[in-house]
Amino acid sequence: MKLIFEEGAKGRRAYKIPPCDVPQKALSAILGKNNLRADAPALPECSEVDVVRHFTNLSQLNFALDTGFYPLGSCTMKYNPKINEDLSRLAGFCEMHPLQSEEDSQGAMQLYYELERSLSAIFGMSRFTLLPAAGAHGELCGMMIIAAYHRSRKDYARKTIIVPDSSHGTNPASASIAGFTVKTIKSGPDGLLDLNALKEALGPDTAGMMLTNPSTLGLFEKDIMKAADMVHKAGGLLYYDGANSNAILCKTTPSLMGFDVVHTNLHKTFSTPHGGGGPGSGPVGVVEKLVPFLPSPLIAYKNGKYVFEKENKLSIGKMRSFFGNFGVLVKAYAYILANGAEGLDEVSTAAVANANYLCRRLSKAFTLPYGDNRCMHEFVLSGQEIKDKYGVSTLDMAKRLIEMGYHPPTIYFPLIVHEAIMIEPCETESVATLKEFVDAMLTVAKEAKECPEKLHAAPQNKPVTRLDETLAARTPVVKAQ
């Protein structure tokens, strides 16, 4: 496909301006000569239909949930009901100005207030801030709250955050940016948190631990209560990375597991688009003793009116301009109300059942290094055996899946599994879709043995074949000319 810069023709325009009927003044006289550029910018010169066709064709090269199955592990790429989109586009929401008065914003404030209460109930937390603009932004917010908590107690020695080696890559990054030193602990042979390693890592410098439960391997940390107890006894706080909360909705809560701070990704669990369909939203919830540290604004309901609360002097301040990504909040609110507690419970049941169906059938053709044939909402296979036997890598198999019309699973993550293939089907797929996907995966495994060259050469039926990602990363070309 051509670039938009290569479309159109010199002088072609999508508009026609009538002749000027008022006295004209030179631009330099208005802006000053030194504010004018010497040459006009090299913009595309296209008609309206050129532009529409270009971008429509471009969009059709994209793979999306609206076009096919997208089992991208760790990412919870579930289908987003279209009604959420309609609701977030209601004029009363999308045409609001963030500086409107409290009086003129009561409807939006009610939504904000009720979404906060809903999330607090779902996660068992006292309060939530809806400001963070993404998951990692929520992690940073949570880390800043933990830092502020220790500071407020003049407990200045607590500088270390513990993360297991199966954690999301953003965890250590967020802790570092918040000023902590990161200590990584190795998982046990079963892929779960190793309590002995945790015991060794804990000390008077421990500010807290970040944990995902279920973990990135799709396993439920069965020792979570013991771990929480150990972290608390050492004086630390426990942070819940809610990226995998799709597996536990209304089944259990981070609060029951002993967590003090949690973030959840509305753009994963609560069905607001994700992965280029953003923006995201990563609300952060806290237990009672951490409420004073939440960023502002928070909204209260007093005397029949929604009002902005006065900022607590212990608050970490602003985390984001105005109120966060409000449109995303509307979608999540709609999703939570449409499902209700029973519906959300079913969401997690189906998400876990779907993953187990795939896990059980695919572990016959691929290695399942952890989990004893069971998983939560996702699981991680290893392609190492196939690579050793037939010289076909996980990357080759992923590219073959593209030919077959699937978005490949996450590959080479988590790092503790060699040649990892991480699959998360989500609750929104039917058993028929899952069966077709199993057939495709089994075909790929068979081809790896019978015709490896076909997999090395994939994909053949797409606009581009195998891209040289090494060259692209080493010498990126990010400009049209």
């Binding site: 890559g169 993550f413 990602e469 990363a473």
Partner: protein, 128 residues
Amino acid sequence: MSKVIDGLYYSKEHEWVKVEGNEALIGITDYAQDALGDLVYADCGTVGAAVSAGDAVAVLESVKAASDVYSPVSGTVTRINEELSDAPEKINADAFGNFLFAVELSDKSELDTLMDASAYEDFCKEEH
């Protein structure tokens, strides 16, 4: 099977240590470069930094992942391999011929906690 060289010390994090007098050159093993895949970025750390054994000193990024490289020994970083920032692929071509950083050893006895070539070879087989 990836290459292992005699006469070097090896860590469980897949770093090699070559001792020259009181200085230790540190790089990643052939097994590590193979596991990481094509490297696209190398930050070999900061000269003058004081490090304890186990501290992250360098960062390598491949098409698959970004990874910290730890110093298996304590001391002060005396030099870094500046060539690698423009040509990280050299590590893929020859992992043992391209050190990342050098450390002036503050405690030579730490070397005893590391593996020799044959112990490391066994360790890799287990990891596999």
